[in-house]
Protein backbone atom coordinates (compact mmCIF):
# COMPACT_ATOMS: atom_id res chain seq x y z
CA UNK A 1 0.00 0.00 0.00
CA UNK A 2 1.29 3.43 -0.89
CA UNK A 3 0.36 5.89 1.84
CA UNK A 4 -3.05 5.35 3.35
CA UNK A 5 -6.45 4.85 1.76
CA UNK A 6 -8.36 8.10 1.41
CA UNK A 7 -12.05 8.66 2.01
CA UNK A 8 -14.14 9.07 -1.13
CA UNK A 9 -16.58 11.97 -1.34
CA UNK A 10 -19.55 10.01 -2.56
CA UNK A 11 -21.40 6.81 -1.81
CA UNK A 12 -21.02 3.54 -3.66
CA UNK A 13 -17.80 4.36 -5.54
CA UNK A 14 -17.75 2.01 -8.51
CA UNK A 15 -15.34 3.29 -11.14
CA UNK A 16 -11.88 4.78 -11.04
CA UNK A 17 -9.64 6.56 -13.56
CA UNK A 18 -6.07 7.78 -13.27
CA UNK A 19 -4.12 10.33 -15.28
CA UNK A 20 -0.37 9.96 -15.08
CA UNK A 21 0.24 13.22 -16.88
CA UNK A 22 -1.70 15.14 -14.26
CA UNK A 23 -1.04 12.76 -11.34
CA UNK A 24 -4.76 12.83 -10.71
CA UNK A 25 -7.11 10.01 -9.80
CA UNK A 26 -10.90 10.33 -10.04
CA UNK A 27 -13.63 8.13 -8.64
CA UNK A 28 -17.22 7.90 -9.78
CA UNK A 29 -19.89 7.15 -7.17
CA UNK A 30 -23.39 5.87 -7.89
CA UNK A 31 -25.20 5.89 -4.55
CA UNK A 32 -27.28 8.47 -2.66
CA UNK A 33 -24.32 10.83 -3.02
CA UNK A 34 -23.46 10.34 -6.70
CA UNK A 35 -20.86 12.13 -8.77
CA UNK A 36 -17.13 12.32 -9.36
CA UNK A 37 -14.42 13.27 -6.91
CA UNK A 38 -10.69 13.52 -7.59
CA UNK A 39 -7.39 13.56 -5.76
CA UNK A 40 -3.71 13.93 -6.56
CA UNK A 41 -1.36 10.97 -6.29
CA UNK A 42 2.37 10.41 -6.14
CA UNK A 43 4.79 7.76 -4.99
CA UNK A 44 3.88 8.86 -1.45
CA UNK A 45 0.19 8.06 -1.87
CA UNK A 46 -2.98 10.02 -2.50
CA UNK A 47 -4.07 13.40 -1.23
CA UNK A 48 -7.57 14.11 0.09
CA UNK A 49 -10.42 13.79 -2.41
CA UNK A 50 -11.84 17.10 -3.60
CA UNK A 51 -15.49 18.19 -3.60
CA UNK A 52 -17.94 15.92 -5.32
CA UNK A 53 -19.01 16.98 -8.82
CA UNK A 54 -22.57 15.86 -8.19
CA UNK A 55 -24.91 13.95 -10.49
CA UNK A 56 -28.54 14.22 -9.46
CA UNK A 57 -29.49 10.58 -9.90
CA UNK A 58 -31.89 10.36 -6.98
CA UNK A 59 -30.30 7.04 -6.11
CA UNK A 60 -30.15 5.12 -2.87
CA UNK A 61 -27.09 3.47 -1.31
CA UNK A 62 -26.63 0.83 -2.55
CA UNK A 63 -28.07 1.98 -5.85
CA UNK A 64 -30.92 0.21 -7.59
CA UNK A 65 -29.21 -0.66 -10.84
CA UNK A 66 -28.07 -1.02 -13.41
CA UNK A 67 -30.12 1.84 -14.90
CA UNK A 68 -29.62 5.38 -13.65
CA UNK A 69 -26.11 4.88 -12.26
CA UNK A 70 -22.59 6.09 -13.04
CA UNK A 71 -20.92 3.76 -15.54
CA UNK A 72 -17.31 4.74 -15.98
CA UNK A 73 -14.82 7.52 -15.35
CA UNK A 74 -11.95 7.79 -17.87
CA UNK A 75 -9.55 10.35 -19.25
CA UNK A 76 -9.26 11.48 -22.86
CA UNK A 77 -6.25 10.38 -24.90
CA UNK A 78 -4.47 13.69 -24.24
CA UNK A 79 -5.57 13.51 -20.58
CA UNK A 80 -6.96 17.04 -20.82
CA UNK A 81 -10.55 15.90 -20.23
CA UNK A 82 -12.16 13.67 -17.64
CA UNK A 83 -15.19 11.87 -19.04
CA UNK A 84 -17.86 10.07 -17.08
CA UNK A 85 -20.63 8.02 -18.64
CA UNK A 86 -23.94 7.96 -16.79
CA UNK A 87 -26.76 5.57 -17.63
CA UNK A 88 -30.24 6.89 -18.15
CA UNK A 89 -33.45 5.03 -17.49
CA UNK A 90 -35.56 4.78 -20.66
CA UNK A 91 -38.48 3.42 -18.64
CA UNK A 92 -38.64 6.76 -16.80
CA UNK A 93 -37.76 8.97 -19.75
CA UNK A 94 -34.53 9.76 -17.92
CA UNK A 95 -31.75 10.35 -20.45
CA UNK A 96 -28.21 9.20 -19.84
CA UNK A 97 -25.28 11.46 -20.58
CA UNK A 98 -21.56 11.86 -21.03
CA UNK A 99 -20.10 14.36 -18.56
CA UNK A 100 -16.88 16.16 -19.50
CA UNK A 101 -14.61 18.04 -17.13
CA UNK A 102 -11.56 19.97 -18.31
CA UNK A 103 -8.28 19.03 -16.70
CA UNK A 104 -5.57 21.61 -16.25
CA UNK A 105 -3.41 20.43 -13.39
CA UNK A 106 -6.57 19.72 -11.47
CA UNK A 107 -10.00 18.67 -12.68
CA UNK A 108 -12.53 21.47 -13.17
CA UNK A 109 -15.49 21.44 -10.79
CA UNK A 110 -17.76 22.61 -13.61
CA UNK A 111 -18.48 20.21 -16.44
CA UNK A 112 -20.56 19.88 -19.59
CA UNK A 113 -23.05 17.16 -20.41
CA UNK A 114 -24.11 15.71 -23.71
CA UNK A 115 -26.74 13.12 -24.52
CA UNK A 116 -25.81 12.04 -28.04
CA UNK A 117 -28.80 11.31 -30.27
CA UNK A 118 -30.00 7.75 -30.06
CA UNK A 119 -28.02 6.83 -26.95
CA UNK A 120 -29.78 6.06 -23.70
CA UNK A 121 -27.83 3.78 -21.39
CA UNK A 122 -24.19 4.78 -21.91
CA UNK A 123 -21.96 2.24 -20.25
CA UNK A 124 -18.32 1.18 -20.59
CA UNK A 125 -16.12 3.15 -22.92
CA UNK A 126 -12.66 3.35 -24.35
CA UNK A 127 -10.65 6.14 -25.79
CA UNK A 128 -9.50 5.66 -29.36
CA UNK A 129 -5.77 6.37 -29.13
CA UNK A 130 -4.49 9.21 -31.29
CA UNK A 131 -7.94 10.72 -31.71
CA UNK A 132 -10.48 12.77 -29.81
CA UNK A 133 -13.16 10.18 -30.57
CA UNK A 134 -14.36 7.76 -27.97
CA UNK A 135 -16.02 4.38 -28.29
CA UNK A 136 -18.99 3.82 -25.98
CA UNK A 137 -21.26 0.90 -25.33
CA UNK A 138 -24.94 1.48 -24.83
CA UNK A 139 -26.68 -1.30 -22.94
CA UNK A 140 -29.91 -0.60 -24.81
CA UNK A 141 -28.56 -1.49 -28.26
CA UNK A 142 -24.79 -2.05 -28.73
CA UNK A 143 -22.00 0.43 -29.41
CA UNK A 144 -21.24 3.86 -30.84
CA UNK A 145 -18.31 6.03 -31.78
CA UNK A 146 -18.68 9.54 -30.41
CA UNK A 147 -16.93 12.56 -31.80
CA UNK A 148 -16.01 15.00 -29.05
CA UNK A 149 -15.48 18.68 -29.68
CA UNK A 150 -15.49 21.48 -27.11
CA UNK A 151 -16.42 18.90 -24.48
CA UNK A 152 -19.63 18.01 -26.34
CA UNK A 153 -20.19 14.62 -27.93
CA UNK A 154 -22.08 13.70 -31.08
CA UNK A 155 -22.65 10.29 -32.65
CA UNK A 156 -20.23 9.55 -35.48
CA UNK A 157 -21.55 6.04 -36.03
CA UNK A 158 -23.46 3.42 -34.11
CA UNK A 159 -24.52 -0.18 -34.50
CA UNK A 160 -27.05 -2.41 -32.86
CA UNK A 161 -25.96 -5.92 -31.89
CA UNK A 162 -28.61 -8.48 -32.74
CA UNK A 163 -29.66 -10.60 -29.81
CA UNK A 164 -27.76 -8.50 -27.30
CA UNK A 165 -28.97 -8.36 -23.70
CA UNK A 166 -26.73 -5.68 -22.20
CA UNK A 167 -23.64 -4.58 -24.11
CA UNK A 168 -21.76 -2.80 -21.36
CA UNK A 169 -17.97 -3.08 -21.63
CA UNK A 170 -15.47 -2.02 -24.24
CA UNK A 171 -11.75 -2.08 -24.93
CA UNK A 172 -9.58 -0.91 -27.83
CA UNK A 173 -7.08 -3.41 -29.18
CA UNK A 174 -3.73 -1.96 -30.27
CA UNK A 175 -3.23 -5.07 -32.42
CA UNK A 176 -6.36 -4.71 -34.56
CA UNK A 177 -7.20 -1.00 -34.02
CA UNK A 178 -10.77 -2.06 -33.35
CA UNK A 179 -13.03 -2.11 -30.31
CA UNK A 180 -14.16 -5.30 -28.59
CA UNK A 181 -17.32 -5.32 -26.49
CA UNK A 182 -18.94 -7.76 -24.07
CA UNK A 183 -22.44 -8.50 -22.82
CA UNK A 184 -23.20 -9.84 -19.35
CA UNK A 185 -26.02 -11.94 -20.80
CA UNK A 186 -24.25 -13.55 -23.77
CA UNK A 187 -20.90 -15.34 -23.88
CA UNK A 188 -19.35 -13.71 -26.90
CA UNK A 189 -17.06 -10.83 -27.74
CA UNK A 190 -18.16 -8.55 -30.57
CA UNK A 191 -15.55 -6.68 -32.58
CA UNK A 192 -16.63 -3.25 -33.79
CA UNK A 193 -15.04 -0.55 -35.92
CA UNK A 194 -13.31 2.24 -34.02
CA UNK A 195 -14.31 4.58 -36.85
CA UNK A 196 -18.06 4.09 -37.06
CA UNK A 197 -18.91 1.22 -34.67
CA UNK A 198 -19.96 -1.08 -37.51
CA UNK A 199 -19.72 -4.74 -36.55
CA UNK A 200 -16.50 -6.38 -37.74
CA UNK A 201 -17.08 -9.83 -36.32
CA UNK A 202 -18.23 -11.92 -33.39
CA UNK A 203 -16.23 -14.37 -31.31
CA UNK A 204 -18.50 -17.07 -29.92
CA UNK A 205 -17.17 -18.34 -26.59
CA UNK A 206 -20.16 -20.44 -25.57
CA UNK A 207 -18.07 -23.63 -25.59
CA UNK A 208 -16.30 -22.58 -22.37
CA UNK A 209 -19.57 -22.60 -20.43
CA UNK A 210 -19.49 -19.10 -18.97
CA UNK A 211 -22.84 -17.29 -18.73
CA UNK A 212 -21.57 -13.95 -20.05
CA UNK A 213 -18.74 -11.45 -19.81
CA UNK A 214 -18.22 -8.16 -18.03
CA UNK A 215 -15.13 -5.97 -18.00
CA UNK A 216 -12.35 -6.64 -20.51
CA UNK A 217 -8.99 -5.17 -21.44
CA UNK A 218 -6.77 -5.51 -24.48
CA UNK A 219 -2.98 -5.76 -24.21
CA UNK A 220 -0.56 -6.82 -26.92
CA UNK A 221 -2.32 -9.19 -29.29
CA UNK A 222 -4.66 -10.38 -26.56
CA UNK A 223 -7.93 -9.55 -24.88
CA UNK A 224 -8.58 -10.47 -21.25
CA UNK A 225 -12.30 -10.69 -20.41
CA UNK A 226 -13.80 -11.42 -17.01
CA UNK A 227 -16.80 -13.63 -16.43
CA UNK A 228 -17.90 -13.42 -12.78
CA UNK A 229 -19.87 -16.61 -13.36
CA UNK A 230 -23.26 -16.88 -11.71
CA UNK A 231 -22.66 -18.61 -8.39
CA UNK A 232 -22.82 -22.04 -10.03
CA UNK A 233 -20.30 -21.46 -12.78
CA UNK A 234 -17.11 -20.07 -11.17
CA UNK A 235 -15.55 -16.80 -12.28
CA UNK A 236 -12.99 -17.02 -15.07
CA UNK A 237 -10.88 -14.87 -17.33
CA UNK A 238 -11.06 -15.76 -21.01
CA UNK A 239 -8.01 -14.86 -23.08
CA UNK A 240 -8.70 -14.27 -26.78
CA UNK A 241 -6.17 -13.60 -29.51
CA UNK A 242 -7.50 -10.41 -31.11
CA UNK A 243 -5.81 -11.17 -34.42
CA UNK A 244 -6.95 -14.78 -34.86
CA UNK A 245 -10.28 -14.25 -33.02
CA UNK A 246 -9.71 -17.51 -31.14
CA UNK A 247 -9.89 -18.30 -27.44
CA UNK A 248 -6.38 -19.20 -26.30
CA UNK A 249 -7.08 -19.70 -22.58
CA UNK A 250 -9.93 -20.02 -20.09
CA UNK A 251 -8.42 -19.39 -16.65
CA UNK A 252 -10.88 -20.35 -13.92
CA UNK A 253 -10.52 -18.29 -10.74
CA UNK A 254 -11.79 -20.83 -8.23
CA UNK A 255 -9.65 -21.08 -5.12
CA UNK A 256 -8.70 -17.42 -5.41
CA UNK A 257 -11.47 -15.99 -3.28
CA UNK A 258 -13.48 -14.72 -6.22
CA UNK A 259 -17.18 -15.31 -6.85
CA UNK A 260 -19.98 -13.83 -8.90
CA UNK A 261 -19.26 -10.48 -7.21
CA UNK A 262 -15.91 -10.12 -8.99
CA UNK A 263 -15.26 -6.97 -11.00
CA UNK A 264 -12.37 -5.67 -12.95
CA UNK A 265 -10.29 -5.52 -14.93
CA UNK A 266 -6.95 -3.76 -15.14
CA UNK A 267 -3.79 -4.69 -17.04
CA UNK A 268 -0.27 -3.75 -16.09
CA UNK A 269 1.48 -3.07 -19.38
Amino acid sequence: MVGKPVAVNGEFPNTVAASLKNKVVCVGSSGAKAGVSCSSFSDKGMGPMDNLRPFDLGQTTPPVGPLNTVSQAFFSDDEKTLFTTVKGDPTKNNTGFLASFSVCGSVSQEGSRSSPDGTAVLFGSTIIPGSTDIFVTDASFGGAVLSVSNNLATVKGKAAIDGQKATCWATFSPATKTAFVTDVGTNKIVEMSATDASIVGQIDLSANGDPGLVDLKAAGNFIYALSPGNGTTPPAITVVDATTKKQVQHQVLDGMGASKNAQGIAVHL
Binding site: M1, A7, V8, L253, N261
Partner: protein, 165 residues
Protein backbone atom coordinates in the same frame (compact mmCIF):
# COMPACT_ATOMS: atom_id res chain seq x y z
CA UNK B 1 -32.52 -5.94 4.42
CA UNK B 2 -29.87 -5.38 6.99
CA UNK B 3 -27.34 -3.00 5.63
CA UNK B 4 -24.57 -1.05 7.18
CA UNK B 5 -22.94 1.89 5.54
CA UNK B 6 -19.23 2.11 5.92
CA UNK B 7 -16.69 4.65 4.86
CA UNK B 8 -15.83 4.42 1.19
CA UNK B 9 -12.10 4.54 0.65
CA UNK B 10 -9.73 4.55 -2.25
CA UNK B 11 -6.37 2.81 -2.08
CA UNK B 12 -3.23 2.97 -4.11
CA UNK B 13 -0.44 0.42 -4.27
CA UNK B 14 2.81 -0.06 -6.10
CA UNK B 15 2.78 -3.02 -8.42
CA UNK B 16 6.31 -2.91 -9.65
CA UNK B 17 9.40 -0.82 -9.98
CA UNK B 18 12.20 -1.45 -12.40
CA UNK B 19 15.17 0.53 -13.50
CA UNK B 20 15.13 1.41 -17.13
CA UNK B 21 16.16 3.89 -19.73
CA UNK B 22 13.81 6.28 -21.40
CA UNK B 23 13.03 5.01 -24.87
CA UNK B 24 14.20 7.22 -27.70
CA UNK B 25 11.46 9.26 -29.28
CA UNK B 26 10.28 8.26 -32.72
CA UNK B 27 11.88 4.84 -32.74
CA UNK B 28 9.79 1.73 -32.74
CA UNK B 29 6.57 3.49 -33.62
CA UNK B 30 5.48 0.58 -35.78
CA UNK B 31 6.54 -2.09 -33.29
CA UNK B 32 4.06 -4.82 -32.44
CA UNK B 33 1.97 -4.01 -29.39
CA UNK B 34 3.61 -5.10 -26.18
CA UNK B 35 2.09 -7.85 -24.09
CA UNK B 36 0.87 -7.02 -20.62
CA UNK B 37 2.67 -8.11 -17.46
CA UNK B 38 -0.32 -8.92 -15.27
CA UNK B 39 -4.09 -8.58 -15.02
CA UNK B 40 -5.93 -7.47 -11.90
CA UNK B 41 -9.49 -7.84 -10.73
CA UNK B 42 -11.16 -7.18 -7.41
CA UNK B 43 -13.05 -9.99 -5.70
CA UNK B 44 -15.52 -7.44 -4.33
CA UNK B 45 -16.30 -9.77 -1.44
CA UNK B 46 -16.98 -8.76 2.15
CA UNK B 47 -13.25 -9.08 2.71
CA UNK B 48 -12.26 -7.47 -0.52
CA UNK B 49 -9.16 -8.71 -2.30
CA UNK B 50 -7.22 -7.80 -5.39
CA UNK B 51 -6.42 -10.82 -7.53
CA UNK B 52 -3.28 -10.53 -9.64
CA UNK B 53 -2.53 -13.01 -12.42
CA UNK B 54 0.81 -12.77 -14.21
CA UNK B 55 0.86 -12.71 -18.01
CA UNK B 56 3.64 -14.75 -19.58
CA UNK B 57 5.59 -13.99 -22.75
CA UNK B 58 2.98 -15.73 -24.89
CA UNK B 59 0.16 -13.67 -23.41
CA UNK B 60 -1.24 -16.42 -21.19
CA UNK B 61 -2.25 -16.15 -17.55
CA UNK B 62 -0.99 -18.25 -14.71
CA UNK B 63 -2.31 -18.84 -11.21
CA UNK B 64 -1.76 -15.63 -9.31
CA UNK B 65 -2.02 -14.13 -5.89
CA UNK B 66 -4.69 -12.45 -3.86
CA UNK B 67 -4.13 -9.56 -1.53
CA UNK B 68 -6.62 -8.20 0.99
CA UNK B 69 -7.48 -4.56 0.45
CA UNK B 70 -8.51 -4.14 4.08
CA UNK B 71 -11.89 -2.95 2.89
CA UNK B 72 -15.13 -4.53 1.78
CA UNK B 73 -16.80 -4.89 -1.58
CA UNK B 74 -20.11 -3.42 -2.70
CA UNK B 75 -23.14 -4.79 -4.48
CA UNK B 76 -25.88 -2.84 -6.22
CA UNK B 77 -29.43 -4.14 -5.97
CA UNK B 78 -31.96 -4.86 -8.67
CA UNK B 79 -35.57 -3.67 -8.91
CA UNK B 80 -36.60 -6.46 -6.51
CA UNK B 81 -34.01 -5.34 -3.96
CA UNK B 82 -31.92 -8.43 -4.63
CA UNK B 83 -28.15 -8.35 -5.18
CA UNK B 84 -27.52 -7.28 -8.78
CA UNK B 85 -24.93 -9.89 -9.69
CA UNK B 86 -23.03 -10.48 -11.83
CA UNK B 87 -21.94 -6.90 -12.49
CA UNK B 88 -22.19 -6.05 -8.81
CA UNK B 89 -20.75 -2.56 -9.31
CA UNK B 90 -22.72 -1.74 -12.50
CA UNK B 91 -19.54 -0.24 -13.92
CA UNK B 92 -16.45 -0.51 -16.06
CA UNK B 93 -12.99 0.16 -14.62
CA UNK B 94 -13.56 -0.84 -11.00
CA UNK B 95 -9.80 -0.62 -10.63
CA UNK B 96 -7.09 0.87 -12.76
CA UNK B 97 -3.36 0.82 -13.31
CA UNK B 98 -1.41 4.03 -13.66
CA UNK B 99 1.78 2.65 -15.06
CA UNK B 100 5.37 3.51 -15.66
CA UNK B 101 5.56 6.80 -13.87
CA UNK B 102 9.00 8.25 -14.23
CA UNK B 103 10.02 10.11 -11.11
CA UNK B 104 11.52 12.58 -11.52
CA UNK B 105 11.75 13.19 -15.25
CA UNK B 106 13.90 13.32 -17.28
CA UNK B 107 17.04 11.55 -16.04
CA UNK B 108 19.02 9.14 -18.17
CA UNK B 109 18.22 6.27 -15.90
CA UNK B 110 14.71 6.43 -14.66
CA UNK B 111 12.84 4.51 -12.09
CA UNK B 112 9.61 3.19 -13.45
CA UNK B 113 6.77 2.87 -11.02
CA UNK B 114 3.34 1.53 -11.61
CA UNK B 115 0.39 2.15 -9.38
CA UNK B 116 -2.69 0.07 -8.93
CA UNK B 117 -5.62 2.11 -7.73
CA UNK B 118 -8.78 0.53 -6.43
CA UNK B 119 -11.70 1.21 -4.16
CA UNK B 120 -11.25 -0.55 -0.85
CA UNK B 121 -14.27 1.23 0.34
CA UNK B 122 -17.36 0.29 1.30
CA UNK B 123 -20.86 -0.18 1.58
CA UNK B 124 -21.98 -3.67 1.76
CA UNK B 125 -25.50 -4.95 2.14
CA UNK B 126 -26.63 -8.54 1.57
CA UNK B 127 -23.50 -10.52 1.79
CA UNK B 128 -22.84 -13.68 -0.06
CA UNK B 129 -23.03 -16.17 2.81
CA UNK B 130 -20.16 -18.18 1.39
CA UNK B 131 -16.94 -16.28 1.79
CA UNK B 132 -13.96 -17.81 0.10
CA UNK B 133 -10.52 -17.07 1.33
CA UNK B 134 -7.35 -17.09 -0.63
CA UNK B 135 -6.19 -20.66 -0.46
CA UNK B 136 -2.87 -21.60 1.05
CA UNK B 137 -1.74 -23.21 -2.14
CA UNK B 138 -1.59 -19.83 -3.75
CA UNK B 139 0.60 -18.24 -1.12
CA UNK B 140 3.93 -19.78 -2.18
CA UNK B 141 3.66 -18.09 -5.55
CA UNK B 142 3.74 -14.72 -3.90
CA UNK B 143 7.47 -14.39 -4.49
CA UNK B 144 6.68 -14.37 -8.17
CA UNK B 145 3.85 -12.00 -7.69
CA UNK B 146 3.64 -8.90 -9.81
CA UNK B 147 2.96 -7.13 -6.55
CA UNK B 148 5.77 -5.53 -4.67
CA UNK B 149 5.97 -6.70 -1.12
CA UNK B 150 5.18 -3.43 0.57
CA UNK B 151 1.58 -3.22 -0.50
CA UNK B 152 0.21 -6.27 1.11
CA UNK B 153 -2.37 -4.77 3.36
CA UNK B 154 -4.17 -1.65 4.23
CA UNK B 155 -3.70 -0.30 7.71
CA UNK B 156 -6.77 1.83 7.49
CA UNK B 157 -9.91 0.64 9.20
CA UNK B 158 -12.50 1.00 6.52
CA UNK B 159 -15.18 -0.72 8.54
CA UNK B 160 -16.21 2.26 10.66
CA UNK B 161 -19.99 2.42 10.46
CA UNK B 162 -21.32 5.84 9.60
CA UNK B 163 -24.93 4.94 10.01
CA UNK B 164 -27.27 2.02 9.85
CA UNK B 165 -30.40 1.60 7.84
Amino acid sequence: MHASLVLPLLSIAFIGSVSGRPSSCGAGASAAPKNGKAVYIISNEKENQVLALPIDASGLLSQGTCTATGGAGSIAVDANNQPAVPDALVSQSALTVAGNVSLPPPPREILLFSFLIFPSFSLRSMLDPIQHLCSQSIEPTRQNSPWSENLLRSTENSQTPLRHH
